[in-house]
């Protein structure tokens, strides 16, 4: 027996964040992530940290802005409609180059929609989060253990690039209990936070801002951000390949969907179908090279998402016309069944 403990995804992420040195949490209630702030409310004060329920998601993300600028490792969490409300604030955080971790336990939209698991915020998370040329690093765990591991990495990536990082899950990841282990991890070398605002005692003053009135400055700033994202593309791509060695078809899926796809693949393999899985773990940076390479091997791709089709565009961009890329979606808060996927898979292979 290991020292694993059984924990809900939401609580495990909170615990992992605290272990990663997160001292401040600002959030606003929303299903299905409520156990995360509740855990923080319980534990953070015990360690001298601060939990504060903000008056809204808008306030919460701006508190994050302040706390990050003040030098803290800080987190907020929410779910789809709440994330939309944070859009402007996230753009400011990215523009001002502040690190933070944002959890989105996606629920089905649009509008109030439903609270079932969904992946319909993919475009928002990876491309159009808010106004302006910026990106989040987006990490999508498919198990509670991975959620724990990625939470730690999220804080490091945030600090390394001075950029917000999003952990993208859903009700399944957040509500599910699985055994987890909190490994002791050595922190990577991270740049010193010499840019924080804490009263300019004995040093040059610091200024945190996203306004850049001169177009040359803003242009340079935006290219600087773009270079950061390219650097992430070099260094931060994460993915899992499964049974790809001899695969003739590749299913591309992430998060909860990938779990179901694994079952579907097992069943397909049992029927002699040579199918493998490519599971993007970092949605941004997207593992495009891996998919590009796979395009040399497989006959076709099938992308499965809990949406009407979003990541499939990134798959198509990576495949770049070399192979066909089919799509299967479940956009209403229901996890697709392995059987449905199998049917689609067979259809695609014809």
């Amino acid at each position: 027996m290991s020292d694993k403990i059984l924990m809900k995804g939401n609580e495990a992420i909170a615990e992992a964040a605290i272990r990663a040195g997160c001292t401040h949490f600002f959030g606003y209630p929303i299903t299905p992530q409520n156990e995360l702030p509740a855990y923080m409310a319980e534990k953070l004060p015990e360690q001298g940290g601060v939990f504060l329920q903000a008056e809204s998601e808008v306030a919460a993300i701006n508190m994050v802005y302040g706390a990050s600028a003040a030098g803290a490792r800080v987190m907020t969490s929410s779910s789809s409609p709440g994330i939309s409300l944070k859009a402007e604030g996230i753009s400011y955080i990215a523009g001002a180059e502040l690190p933070c971790v944002i959890v989105n336990m996606v629920r089905a939209g649009p509008g109030l929609g439903g609270i079932g698991p969904s992946q319909s915020d993919y475009f928002q998370a990876t491309k159009g989060m808010a106004h302006g040329d910026f990106r989040l690093a987006v990490l999508a765990p498919d198990s509670v253990q991975e959620a724990v591991d990625l939470t730690r990495q999220a804080f490091d990536i945030a600090d390394k690039y001075r950029n917000p990082v999003m952990i993208l899950g859903d009700g399944v990841i957040g509500q599910m209990m699985e055994p987890v282990e909190f490994k002791e991890i050595d922190s990577p070398e991270l740049p010193e936070k010499d840019w924080i605002v804490d009263g300019a005692e004995g040093r040059e003053r610091n200024i945190i801002h996203s306004l850049r009135l001169k177009t040359e400055d803003l242009t340079e700033h935006n290219w600087k951000l773009a270079r950061k994202y390219e650097q992430m593309q070099e260094d931060e791509v994460r993915y899992e390949e499964k049974l790809m060695d001899d695969a003739e078809v590749a299913i591309v899926a992430y998060g909860t969907t990938a779990r179901v796809v694994k079952t579907a693949i097992k069943e397909a393999r049992a029927e002699g179908i040579k199918v493998g899985l490519i599971r993007p773990i970092s949605l941004f940076p997207f593992p495009k090279k891996v998919i590009k390479k796979a395009a040399q091997q497989v006959d076709c791709f099938l992308t499965v998402e809990m949406s009407t089709g979003q990541m499939v565009e990134d798959v198509r961009l990576a495949v770049n016309g070399e192979r066909s890329v089919a799509f299967y979606g479940s956009p209403g808060g229901a996890v697709p069944s392995p059987a449905e996927i199998l049917v689609k898979l067979k259809e695609v292979m014809e």
């Binding site: 001292t23 508190m63 003040a70 610091n206 200024i207």
Partner: protein
């Protein structure tokens, strides 16, 4: 020779970009003087709003942030919760503080957040070119109230300080004006008290400063001061609306 008036240490050398006669500059100076006098330049973090004062981060010689429109109280909360021993203030216009930022203003006050707000009420949106503010007076013209503010359509000018003074967490609430040397002195005293309240950890402190926007009021700087005196002060009475606890 003793210096009676001059450039406070907590201002940078940078020239203000404000229009001629705009009272933003006066209030900047007062805040800087107070910080100097309390000797807290190296402990203070200031937050610039979105509004004409957006570049305040260039003017205050302090650690500074620029916050999203209306969100300085939330940003200040974030900072203060990380550094409870430091001094955090927000400097905000009426659009910022009393319109888009209403929720953040009310809740920072209600939480008794230990921060100080300097709230510039110039009854207009200066930066964006003269739109109606929540504090625009009845009948006062604005680009978005071309026939003058009609209270039937646009509601009544918001007495933000009176409203916030009802909250237990708001321990110091004062309204001042900067239209005469005398009132400028009083304004400084109020600002000083609002910082002391924070230093004592008593709760949220707010100073509303009646100010002018000659450009968008379409008046000369002096006419603007006169208009303030004649029109704003009657509707927005000056004085300490609330002062709980001892600061001296």
């Amino acid at each position: 020779m003793e210096e009676l008036a001059g450039r406070p240490k907590s201002l940078t050398e940078q020239e203000f970009h404000y229009c001629p006669g705009c009272t933003h500059g006066i209030v900047h100076r007062l805040v800087a003087e107070v910080i100097d006098e309390l000797d807290i330049q190296e402990q203070t973090i200031g937050i610039a709003p979105v509004g004409c004062a957006v570049l305040a981060y260039d003017y205050f010689d302090l650690d500074m942030l620029e916050a999203a429109h209306g969100r300085p109280p939330a940003v200040a909360t974030g900072i203060k919760r990380v550094h409870p021993d430091k001094v955090v203030f927000t400097y905000q216009g009426d659009g910022d503080y009393a319109s888009i930022g209403t929720a953040e203003s009310v809740h920072a006050a209600s939480r008794g957040e230990r921060i100080t707000t300097v709230f510039i009420n110039n009854a207009i949106y200066g930066m964006t070119g003269g739109q109606m503010a929540p504090t625009t007076l009845e009948g006062q013209k604005a680009t978005t109230a071309p026939r003058g503010r009609d209270t039937k359509e646009a509601g009544f000018p918001l007495q933000m300080s009176e409203m916030l003074a009802t909250l237990e967490g708001a321990v110091y609430v004062a309204r001042v004006s900067v239209d005469t040397p005398q009132r400028i002195k009083q304004a400084k005293e109020a600002i000083k008290k609002a910082f002391k309240v924070q230093l004592k950890g008593l709760g949220y402190a707010l100073v509303e400063v009646l100010s002018t926007c000659p450009t968008n009021w379409g008046l000369s700087p002096q006419q603007a001061l006169d208009w303030l005196e004649d029109n704003m002060i009657p509707y927005y009475p000056l004085g300490e609306l609330k002062s709980v606890g001892e600061v001296e």
